[in-house]
């Protein structure tokens, strides 16, 4: 069996030592595959004088030319003819620029194997019929947003009785489905089957806050779960203390903190990262995380702030082998966490761009917003207009 297949078939997604037997080989094979099949990628490797022989151990992975997620928003880079893609996804593009990525059958097979192993480990695969509240968009023919596909995909891991969407497809766009969510919730509570909430954290927060404000307190099936991913984006000002949030969920829905899971992923790096009981994103065997210096993109040591970058051989349709996101993060040694997972974990520290309190993201997504680059003549000014370059989380 080839090293890539063995990697993605590994039973324990956090057995780092075992994965070392095939990870490097899988990466090298992936690199050669893309070099042969994607002329632009071969050109990038050549321009940077990259020699694969300099990658002798996992410590050398940083040498593989790294591509910013921004590059995929402005350029298409495929290693197979586009008509052979079986699935396409776009980042949610808060800033207006979207990455278009596409996956072929072989990537999908590896991805499904990986997700089955990964979700089993986190006890998310269940034979119990389940009702879903999707706190995001309903899938439709007029959008390719990766977040929608991920949310929908997650509803496949326990057989769905019913799915209700917070943003419902009305044929040409989306409308807010408050009544639908409310009615579905009451119906689900009565039915007694487990309920899974899937989607963006701020929507979940608005939901439980609305329940609390209206004095609604439900006792959902104990196998119910809250699965969150996608960060807070334009609602960052609303980001609240995590403990308060989980307490609110338990108060209003009867779902305990242990059943609330938060995920990280990116359209340009479609791998799962799940927060452990201590709130840490441990790195599964399918990838390696490198935190890179904000000036030189060289690796920095653990506990130092830098750009979050990944190496993974998952995707064969595009050279997404070594990418750098626009998230700033810090990597820690796994032993510092204290949970049963021993792989390194990363902590997110905001996005590249202007100071966190003043990103343009907040207003840009709002009706009266937009990227502003404007001032009165000679007034006291020091502005913070910026366009974020990197990958959208899904």
């Amino acid at each position: 069996m080839n090293p890539k297949r063995r990697l993605f078939l590994m039973k324990n997604p956090y057995d780092l030592e075992k994965s070392r037997a095939f990870f490097l080989d899988a990466v090298k094979a992936d690199l050669e595959y893309h070099r042969t099949n994607c002329a632009d990628y071969a050109e990038i490797l050549k321009e940077q004088n990259f020699d694969i022989n300099t990658v002798k151990t996992e410590n050398d992975l940083y040498r593989i030319p790294v591509i910013p997620t921004l590059y995929f928003k402005r350029n298409r880079l495929f290693s197979i003819p586009e008509e052979k893609l079986v699935i396409k996804a776009a980042s949610s593009g808060t800033q207006g620029l979207r990455s278009i990525v596409g996956f072929d059958k072989s990537t999908l097979v590896c991805g499904i194997l990986m997700m089955l192993r990964f979700l089993s480990y986190h006890r998310l695969i269940s034979p119990l019929p389940t009702n879903y509240i999707v706190l995001g968009f309903q899938p439709s023919s007029h959008t390719q947003m990766g977040a929608i596909k991920t949310a929908y995909g997650i509803t496949k891991f326990a057989p769905a009785l019913h799915r209700e969407y917070a943003l419902k497809d009305n044929g040409s766009g989306y409308s807010l489905n408050i009544d639908g969510i409310k009615n579905a919730l009451l119906k689900y509570a009565k039915s007694g089957f487990p309920v899974r909430f899937v989607g963006f954290p701020p929507y979940m927060y608005f939901l439980v806050k609305a329940l609390k404000d209206n004095g609604i307190s439900l006792k959902l099936n104990r196998h119910s779960k809250v699965l969150l991913g996608g960060g807070w984006k334009q609602f960052s000002a609303e980001e609240i203390d995590k403990e308060d949030f989980y307490q609110l969920i338990e108060e209003t829905l009867g779902i305990k903190k242990a059943n609330c899971l938060e995920f990280f992923s990116a359209v340009e790096h479609p791998l799962p990262y799940c927060k452990c009981e201590n709130g840490h994103f441990h790195v599964p065997v399918y990838s390696r995380v490198i935190i890179r210096d904000v000036n030189t993109l060289k690796p920095v040591s653990n506990r130092q702030l830098g750009l979050l970058s990944f190496v993974s051989p998952l995707v064969s349709s595009m050279p997404l082998l070594s990418i750098v996101t626009d998230d700033l993060a810090v990597l820690h040694d796994g032993s510092q966490c204290g949970c049963k997972i021993k792989t390194p974990y990363f902590e997110l520290h905001g996005r590249a761009g202007v100071q966190q309190i003043k990103t343009c993201t907040a207003d840009a997504a709002e009706l009266l917003g937009g990227t502003l680059n404007q001032a009165a003549p000679g007034l006291l000014v020091e502005s913070n207009a910026a366009v974020h370059p990197g990958g959208e989380r899904i």
């Binding site: 350029n75 202007v354 680059n373 003549p377 006291l380």
Partner: protein, 430 residues
Amino acid sequence: MNFISGKLLDRKHSYEYLDKLSELICETYQHKTLPVQRVISACDTLSELINKRDHLPLLLSLGMNESKAHSELMLVKLMLSREYLENRLKAEFGTDFETYLEYRPFGSERIVRQEWKPLGVLLHIAAGNVDALPVFSVIEGLLTGNINILKLPGTDDGLSIAILQKLTEIEPLISEYAYVFDYPSSDIESIKKMAAPADAVVVWGGDAAVAAVRNMAAPNTKIIEWGHKISFAYISGMDISDEDLEGIAFNICDTNQLLCNSCQGIFIDTNNYKDIMEFSERFLPILEGMSQRMPLKADPYLQAQKTLEMNTEELESSKMGKRVFKSETCSITAYKDDCALEPSHMYRNCWVKPLPREKLLSALLKYKNHLQTAALVCKENDRPSLEAMLFKTGVVRITSGRNMSTTFCGAPHDGEYPLRRYMKIVTYEY
């Protein structure tokens, strides 16, 4: 926080005032006027209170370097002083601002008396990325005697309310002429309520903000746009002095390319990629030298963004006819044949593009109403024809590189006198 009738109020209490905003405003209208001299006196007192010891740390905390903070503080002090404001009014309105003009119109028998009057009520929707801009917009509204409603930008740092609070302490009458609401832009219902009594909405921002306001405002509400603008340098002839280039470098480093009058990039009067490359190689050490003398506060988030942008540009360069010249703190992206006028990556990263003079007009006309300042560097005998061509493109200021973002008392903004836009001319015709 919201600031209404001289009091700081939380969101809940502010809603009560929002609901009766029209009545409150009518009450003020009915019984009071705001004489310009009272506003000037209050601003002048505030100007005298501004001092380095108390206020320099505030600007430093916003991320400015020491010399920039010092010059900005002195500029604000100057701009709020009585002499400055009086001269500004004189520049914009002539001598008849506080009095009236009486004349017999051509071909008419009647005597006409003419006066400047405030528009009435202004709703200011200010840009969120510029410190203190909201309060300066309101001060302009006050100087012209208007009642001002300010919707704070989502990212406001409290500076605007602090300044208005001080002004109302000095001149209590101002408390009835300034309402500040700190609501999110998504709260459309509340913004509509703010707009309801407004005679005009003053909107600072990009095309999206302007379009949203145009969409929201009632047909009988005037919209005063201070929209998105972009500025650049135009260089003709390769025998230009280092001093001229240092002026452009100064503007790029001084403003970090964040303002509407900041230099985003440089057009060269050529068709030849070799000239573009040679110029970029020459300009890079000049820009870097200036940048080293005007250090930016270290910020890993900003640096990370620059690195990602530049790395992406480099990856794209071989197949897209461009080349990135990088130095320690800045960069230049040289283009072979793209002459699109684009914002730069800011923070000391500019572009250099070919734009021969015969294409100047055709290439820039499509940016109508978005052009603002052009720094012109050329031979003296070329100057008149290039100036004429630049003004035809829609540019409203032509300057040296060093003067791109400096102002003067009574300067027009985007081709207009700002205070005049907040007033109307009324006539008495008996």
